[in-house]
Amino acid sequence: MALPVAAGLGLKPDHVDTILKTRPALGFFEVHAENYMGEGGLPHRQLAAIAEPYPLSLHGVGLSIGGEGDLDRDHLKRLRHLIERYRPASFSEHLAWSTHDSEFFNDLLPLPYTPETLDRVARHVAETQEAVGTRMLLENPSTYLIFAESTIEEIDFLAAISDRTGCGLLLDVNNVMVSAVNHRLDPFAYIDRFPMEKVGEIHLAGYDETEDEAGERLLIDAHASPVLPDVFALYSHMLDRAGPLPTLVEWDNDVPEFPALYAEAKKVEAALARARLASSEAAISRSAA
């Protein structure tokens, strides 16, 4: 189970007719699992039609893997059902929480990185993989605050979970930029230290920008605009380091017409083509040496 090494887009209901008519050259489409948890009707008809010609990436946003409580068994069943029905090439979720005391907050909320939370998240990831019957990818979050009690670096936390559970990682390059700017860290250093061999998918998106109380830059993971140049530069750096990887452009709010979204994917595809060339040249020079 793996996504093709190509550019993909988030699937929007308003774009489905255009996509089916024009069959754009895209590697895959990604959907938020929770949007397809209704019993029937148009969403399922559209997803079934898209899943015929295109590989799917199923991206959960509501499992609350980082939550303190037990995982929601009903939600795991719904995920398993979707995976069995649509056979996605990838299933991913977030290093975040969204449910507390059975109240759902509809946001990807942060958790402290400690030995205790590491145990808990690793247990939840293992339970998830067992319950849905497939390996998953876990995504790095965008954060606006850090927890004073955190004792583990985010990268080490993610790597440890992958080591313990066998899960892969989803590297969201926009999240890296957002968190790095918000916490005054070097986003390139984050990419350089990230365990790329575990990465099964890349996410790109646009961020919004504001200021915090101290008047310092505060980036917000908004998914409401094209990928910004600094994030694309970081992505290119990542490609130089790791070679081409399946890459999704996320654009979930103020969604434009399909051609604007497709143009974003073509930029990514061009970068992937350069990376493919570079890695094959590197392979040739290695074998010549």
Binding site: G40, T99, N106
Partner: protein
């Protein structure tokens, strides 16, 4: 605890959060609070677009935010969030001047649940014709999973229809309406039922046998059993499950 602060109106934040320089920063925590509030009100905007048009964005967002304060989602499947909104709107004092608002909300809630309901084929006239005439009165038809009937003292179907195109046409006849929602293919269709068919349709959608449903319409001089039943079947009110006939029901 982090979660208790997420829906607070005041710019307060939990302890134990920090920035790299060790400062507390309420504007940073406010990003989370804003995401939660906006995310849930957006879910309501998607479910209740006509309610929003009728009262305007600002009023709607204030009303939605007040609803979010009292009724939070208990499931990560937001497709089902907001079913309590019509009842909330009915009791929302500032919306009193729009007395039909909560009925419009009931209509949109029913449309949303019909949109996501289970797929099923439609009952055909042929399938009904296979029922022996002497058994017709005891036959029960299975409502289509997407079929919903929303009755109101206001012309909610006409208000809805008149808002589907610009410019919005005024409502000519200010009368009670009952709207049947069906999903004959994949799109939801809305039909204002003739007043004399409403009791009959409501009884059938509640699973009553045909005879009993016809009795419910006995007070309607203009009710025509054959015409009413044919119309409901053609609109897609029933699923293709075979009509259920009680073999030894001699009542």
């Amino acid at each position: 605890m982090f979660s208790t602060y997420l829906l607070a109106r005041e710019a307060v934040m939990p302890e134990g959060l920090s920035t790299r320089c060790g400062r507390l920063d309420a504007r940073r925590f406010a990003v989370y609070r804003n995401n939660v509030g906006v995310g849930l009100t957006r879910a309501l905007e998607r479910r209740y677009p006509l309610v929003m048009r009728l009262v305007g964005e600002d009023f709607f967002r204030g009303m939605a935010r007040a609803y979010v304060d009292v009724e939070r989602p208990t499931s990560p499947v937001l497709l089902t969030y907001g079913s309590g909104f019509p009842a909330f709107v009915a009791g929302f004092e500032p919306a009193r001047s729009v007395p039909y608002l909560s009925d419009i909300a009931r209509l949109e809630d029913a449309m949303a649940s019909a949109f996501h309901s289970r797929d099923a084929g439609l009952l055909t006239m042929d399938a009904l014709a296979a029922v022996p005439p002497e058994r017709l009165g005891t036959a029960r038809l299975t409502p289509h999973p997407a079929a919903r009937l929303v009755s109101s003292a206001f012309p909610i179907g006409t208000i809805f229809a008149n808002h589907q195109a610009e410019p919005v046409r005024p409502v000519e006849h200010w009368v009670a309406e009952a709207v049947l929602i069906t999903r004959p293919d994949i799109r939801c269709e809305l039909t204002v039922l003739p007043a004399w068919d409403v009791a009959f349709a409501a009884a059938l959608l509640n699973g009553a046998p045909l005879g009993e449903a016809a009795m419910a319409a006995a007070d309607e001089p203009t009710f025509d059993f054959g015409r009413a039943l044919t119309a409901l079947i053609r609109l897609g009110a029933f699923s293709d499950d075979a009509p259920i006939i009680k073999e030894n029901d001699d009542a």
